[in-house]
């Protein structure tokens, strides 16, 4: 199953389009599904004359319902995403965004939600639109990330039922407003990739160390002993688990974005094998 199919089948998808899978929902699409005997009321334009001639009975072409999805994404480009042990979280986020927009096909549209509005403003279809949206996200300058403002832009600009991906880290996720999150999840198919704290498993500090906040530039001198590292690890895990619970409660699909595998976050969120993205 592909990410697109998972979106179509997913429980999170609002029922505006009638829901269900592409194989069970048949309509006026372009993709051929099967031939069957003519039933009164069938669109006569769908009668397959060649097949009718071969079989001697009127045959109707059944087409798959043609659903154009809207892939939208909000990606944290703040300095905190430039951190990582061996690889910046921003690179993993880029991978996830590429996989997200790359999942679209046909008439699907791709939109990047930026601080100054959606890009492209009139969503383009296909690979060109996906590449444009991806580049727009990549080109967003590093700076303060306001998740609530971007969720508001998404809410104001995206068509109902759009698939919205948010990629950010825990500090920004903590700032997300629950009411907004629930409202967005009610209107759109929301997926949240939460960037994992690079130091979650083992804080790499021993003894006296100075930390510098990449966002504010503030510096802090502290002692880091075993007790401090253990306390940090526990708190970091608790924070991550708490955020995931909170996002799910608000109706979002969730995945953990590890710096080593951005696409894995999408696989985890949609419950599909990681290999489906390769």
């Amino acid at each position: 199953m592909t990410l697109r199919e998972a979106l179509l089948r997913g429980r999170h998808r609002p029922r505006l389009f009638g829901g269900g899978s592409p194989t069970s929902s048949r309509g006026d699409g372009y993709e051929f599904a099967q031939l069957r005997g003519y039933v009164a009321g069938d669109d006569t334009r769908r009668i397959d004359w060649a097949a009718t001639a071969r079989s001697g009975v009127l045959q109707t072409r059944v087409m798959l319902e043609d659903i154009a999805l809207v892939f939208a994404a909000i990606c944290d480009r703040s300095r905190s995403m430039s951190l990582g042990r061996r690889r910046a979280l921003a690179e993993a986020a880029d991978d996830a965004i590429a996989a997200w927009f790359g999942a679209g096909s046909g008439e699907d549209r791709a939109i990047a939600i930026l601080a100054h509005g959606p890009v492209p403003e009139r969503a383009r279809a296909g690979r060109e639109g996906a590449a444009l949206a991806r580049e727009a996200l990549r080109g967003e300058p590093e700076g303060a990330f306001d998740p609530n403002a971007l969720l508001d832009i998404a809410g104001a600009t995206l068509p109902r039922g759009a698939a919205l991906l948010v990629v950010t880290d825990a500090s920004a996720a903590e700032r997300c407003d629950d009411v907004r999150l629930a409202e967005i999840a009610r209107r759109f198919d929301g997926t949240f990739c939460l960037a994992r704290d690079p130091w979650l498993e083992d804080f790499p500090l021993h003894g006296f160390a100075k930390l510098v906040d990449v966002e504010s530039g503030e510096r802090l001198l502290r002692w880091f002993g075993r007790r401090e590292r253990d306390a940090y690890r526990r708190a970091s895990i608790e924070r991550e688990e708490g955020l995931l619970r909170r996002l799910r409660r608000c109706g979002w699909r969730t995945g953990i974005l590890d710096e080593s595998d951005g696409v894995g976050a999408l696989a985890e969120a949609f419950g599909i094998p990681r290999g489906a993205f390769d």
Partner: protein, 306 residues
């Protein structure tokens, strides 16, 4: 202003340039060592605002800098300084009872050994005299600051014999001591005063002159017979205690050689202290430098391991 060696201005300029470069380099190294982190607020929330080791490090750094600065001002402190101008007279009983062997090898030999050690442990500059007494008191060694001479004089102590004239010994000791400085008489005896002037009056007289009399009663509790006699070598402990009290001194009872050594080690010390203004700039600079070195080591050596 004129310059004797203007060429050295170039050296000075180079030094300044080097200083600026090294400061900038140190800043870059420090910045590179700092761990970039995304959410200090979370870290503070997790680990708490209090960080005693870092506060201690800062305090050590500040105190070290302050001490180094203070050292430049050449600080002086009023401190008690030991003055080694005191005098001690050792009054050693050489009456017949000192030949008793209840203290090995004999009371007399044990007293001599303890006296030797006492003199050896005296501070340089302190003076010592030795008075021997039995039926009468005699000066074995007048006051001297040459401790080796006094120790040698102990070998000339007469053999134990005769009665015990404690009062005479105290009076003679008093005559040896001057009028100033810390002065002490250490009386080592095993007997009861049985001749000569009143020891209590002599001790009181010394006390009035500011001379302490420390008394050491030597011998086992049960006493023993004086060799060659049927007379018991007892101790008038109450009297010895009274002599000490009358002069502001102390009394100690010893029953073996090691106790005697310990008692003499604790008594008769004449080191006095005088409050003087002492230049502590060297010590202050040393402590300040030590604290700065400790802080630097802690901050650099114990820093994070990437």
């Amino acid at each position: 202003m004129t310059l004797g060696s203007p060429a050295f201005l170039l050296v000075a300029a180079l030094l300044v340039a080097f200083g600026i470069w090294s400061l900038e380099r140190a800043r870059r190294v420090r910045d590179a060592r700092d761990l970039a982190y995304s959410d200090l607020a979370f870290l503070r929330r997790t680990l708490g605002e209090r960080d005693l080791p870092s506060a201690l490090l800062r305090a050590v750094w500040i105190v070290g800098l302050a001490l180094a600065g203070i050292a430049l001002a050449r600080p002086h402190l009023m401190l008690p300084v030991p003055i080694h101008d005191g005098a001690v007279v050792l009054c050693i009983d050489t009456s017949g009872s000192m030949a008793s062997t209840d203290i090995v090898p004999t009371r007399a030999l044990a007293a001599r050994a303890a006296a030797t050690r006492f003199i050896q442990e005296m501070a340089s500059g302190e003076r010592v005299a030795v008075v021997a007494f039995s039926g009468a008191a005699s000066v074995v060694q007048p006051l001297t600051a040459r401790h080796s001479t006094a120790i040698a004089a102990l070998d000339t102590l007469p053999a134990p014999n005769g009665p015990t004239a404690i009062g005479d010994a105290l009076a003679l000791a008093g005559s040896l001591l001057g009028q100033r400085g810390p002065r002490t008489v250490v009386l080592v005896t095993d007997g009861v005063n049985n001749t000569g002037i009143d020891p209590f009056a002599a001790a009181s007289s010394l006390g009035e002159r500011g001379i302490k009399v420390d008394t050491v009663g030597i011998g086992t509790n049960s006493g023993s017979l004086i060799p060659g006699t049927s007379e018991a070598a007892g101790i008038d402990e109450a009297a010895l205690r009274a002599y000490a009290r009358a002069s502001g001194g102390r009394f100690v009872r010893v029953e073996n050689a090691s106790e005697l050594r310990g008692a003499l080690g604790a008594l008769g010390r004449v080191t006095s202290f005088e409050r003087k203004s002492v230049d502590v700039s060297l010590g202050t600079a040393f402590v300040g430098a030590l604290l700065l070195a400790l802080a630097a080591l802690a901050a650099l050596g114990l820093g994070r391991v990437p």
